[in-house]
């Protein structure tokens, strides 16, 4: 892959890819700034648009949009105390107090510099790890892939950011059952279609994702009504950004810790951005010489979560590209896009198509730099976007979702799938069933079943228990499940525990 580092730059800058990078970043910023919308929504809505584009432009646009989300979400978190997307919450703990002190530009500058540095370091780590990871993955056979998928699913079920572990497991089971709809990959038996021809090839993942993330969110927005924010005192020019950018180097410890937390957590399926940024913030407070300053406008409290939020995206590509197991929701949608484009993520991708992998890495860095540049230049004015009324935005997103689902194959069946999953997503949100637990099984269900059958056919049941990597992964599954039994928090504990998490200290509700 290293031999392709320079030639891939030429491919990355070949027209019209740079144009699509700009489009992706702008659209991503819009969705990042608007509260309630975020990475999964923008990626789900962009996916139908990419399927007729050339691969480089499509990938660049999607990654551009994805990389713009964290920083633009933090912009409103810092300036308005209104996080554009959930992981940006941690940035508001100290970012907003800084704004109230008249140092909003300083905080935004620090946030932008953290994003750029985290993206660059993340890209370097990714470039170094992928070829090494590829060698490891090439030692994998059917049982290891099955166990890998099982380990991913058990982590997703146990980590459950929303609701109980029990509901997390129910959702994983439901996701797997939906993934089994259609022809069995080995015997060809048609399952759970109830005679419907559309379902013979299974549920198409892209309309399902459009429904789960875009339509459900649009329904939620329209039910809530009114404006996204009722303040008119926004849209000022930022000052002090340069000093903020320099502050990252003066507080490099906070940046380093945030970056490390983001890189490590980003690789674990199901962890997601919210937990990552809050852990990064908590770690920074814990290691600080002046923890009492946090929450009152300490710049380290902006730098660490920003570093974590941006570095998790780079490391999230490791399981996604190597195993085809998405690490978080955005990666799941991105995986769906790659499937639409005919790109099959997996161990051989780095070997057979290094240019494509490098395009992803370059787009991640370029997207972050471009977003930071726009935020630093006109960030203050961009916050006016939150004044867009929900009753206008909701129907447009719904129309785009439905037409996007229809545009994929011109099938009304895709529209119905999107609508069904839209309602399902809305109900899941309201009844605290985690959506990520439905998406990841949908993605890995086929891989899991195929590798399960191939193991049985080639090696029998012994195949799972006689190979060292497979046994190691099985141990991971057991440890994760045992850990969940021991450490899951009961309702009693949850209600009785004292105010001890960072989020409670800052009165988030």
């Amino acid at each position: 892959m290293f031999a392709h580092l320079i030639p891939a730059v030429g491919a990355f800058f070949a027209w019209p890819a740079p144009l699509f990078l700009v489009i992706g970043v702008l659209v991503g910023m819009l969705f990042g700034i608007l509260p309630g919308l975020g990475g999964p929504q923008v990626l789900a809505l962009l996916t139908p648009i990419t399927y007729k584009m050339d691969h480089t432009s499509a990938i660049v646009m999607m990654i551009g949009a994805m990389s713009a989300i964290p920083l633009s979400g933090s912009l409103t978190a810092i300036l308005l105390n209104l996080p554009g997307h959930a992981p940006s919450v941690a940035s508001s703990f100290d970012g907003y107090p800084l704004t109230r002190q008249g140092r909003g530009g300083y905080a935004v500058g620090a946030s932008a510099m953290s994003a750029i540095l985290a993206a660059v370091i993340g890209a370097i780590v990714l470039t170094l790890i992928l070829p090494l990871g590829e060698r490891v993955v090439l030692a994998f056979s059917y049982p290891e892939f099955f166990m890998m998928a099982l380990a991913g699913l058990s982590m997703v079920a146990v980590i459950s950011q929303k609701g109980s572990i029990w509901k997390g497991m129910i959702t994983v089971a439901l996701g797997l059952m939906i993934a089994f709809i259609g022809s069995d990959p080995v015997t060809g038996t048609v399952r759970f279609t109830f005679g419907n021809l559309y379902l013979y090839n299974g549920i198409d993942i892209v309309p399902a994702l459009i429904g789960l993330f875009a339509i459900s969110q649009a329904i939620d927005m329209t039910l809530k009504g009114d404006r996204l924010v009722e303040t008119e005192k926004i849209g000022n020019r930022l000052s002090g950004v340069w000093a903020g950018m320099k502050s990252v180097f003066q507080h490099f410890g906070a940046f380093f810790r945030g970056n490390l937390v983001g890189t490590l957590m980003g690789m674990i399926p199901g962890v997601g951005g919210s937990i990552t940024t809050i852990i990064a913030y908590g770690q920074t407070v814990q290691f600080s010489k002046h923890p009492e300053r946090y929450g009152t406008g300490e710049i380290g409290g902006v730098i660490a979560p920003e570093a974590a939020n941006n570095s998790k995206d780079a490391s999230g590509f490791i399981p996604t590209l190597l195993f085809g197991i998405p690490s978080h929701v955005e990666m799941a949608v991105l995986l769906g896009t790659l499937t639409v484009l005919g790109i099959d993520p997996g161990p051989r991708l780095v070997q057979t198509d290094p240019d494509r992998v490098l395009t992803v890495i370059y787009a991640l860095v370029a997207g972050n730099i471009l977003t930071a540049a726009i935020v630093l230049a006109v960030g203050g004015y961009l916050t006016r976007l939150v004044l867009v009324p929900r009753p206008v935005l909701g129907p447009i997103i719904m129309a785009l979702s439905v037409v996007g689902a229809f545009a994929l194959n011109g099938l009304i069946g895709d529209v119905i799938v999107a609508l069904v999953f839209g309602v399902l997503g809305f109900i899941m949100d309201r009844f605290e069933f985690p959506k990520i637990n439905l998406v990841i099984p949908l993605m890995v269900g086929s891989l899991m079943e195929t590798s399960f059958h191939q193991t049985l056919l080639a090696m029998g049941w012994r195949g799972f228990f006689t190979r060292p990597i497979s046994v190691g992964l099985l141990c991971v599954v057991l440890i994760v499940l045992l850990f969940s039994i021991r450490h899951g928090r009961s309702n009693k504990q949850m209600s009785a525990r004292k105010v001890d998490t960072v989020s409670e200290v800052h009165n988030i509700d």
Binding site: I49, K52, A86, I159, S160, Q161, K162, G163, S164, I165, W166, G168, M169, I170, A173, L176, M177, F180, V186, T187, T189, R191, F192, F194, I215, T222, L223, G270, V271, S274, P389, R390, P391, V392, P395, I396, A399, V402, V403, F406, A407, G410, I412, L419, G422, F426, I427, E432, E449, H453, S484, G488, R489, N491, M494, T501, V502, S503, I508, D509
Partner: protein
Amino acid sequence: MKFTTSIDTIIVDLTLLAVFIVFAAVGGTYQPMARELPLPIAIAGCILVFVLFLSDLFPRLRQVLGFVHRQGTGSSLSVSTAAPARETPGLPAREWLRLLRWICWLTAFAIGIQIIGYLAASGVFVFLVTWLEGRMHRWQALLSAIGTCAFFYIVFHLFLSVTFT
């Protein structure tokens, strides 16, 4: 703490239980290799949902079935559970009705796409929904409908050359 469960939580549990029972019953009819994974997972799903249903239906069982409501490792850190543990509130009846109305709108939109084409259907949908549901001014609704149609025309027709069959 006194536990109460809303009726819609029970309905959601029952619906999920019915879905898993159907999956299990239908899955059992396939040849052994085709049901090797789906059947055990469907049965496991039935058991998981049934236990959840019992614990929601009989709040007194909460002491015995405490494991059902253990929060995920992530939720102890995430914002959503920052508040003390409580019951899933479910949806008020008015919100269920509004959801139903939205399902009707979206179904009508899907039918509209089939009958009058995606461009006209999108315009009509955005106009009517923004005007009637969003209670925006008619001119604002019209403007957003025209904008949406123009955007769709440029993206799907001129740029992507999508042919909707």
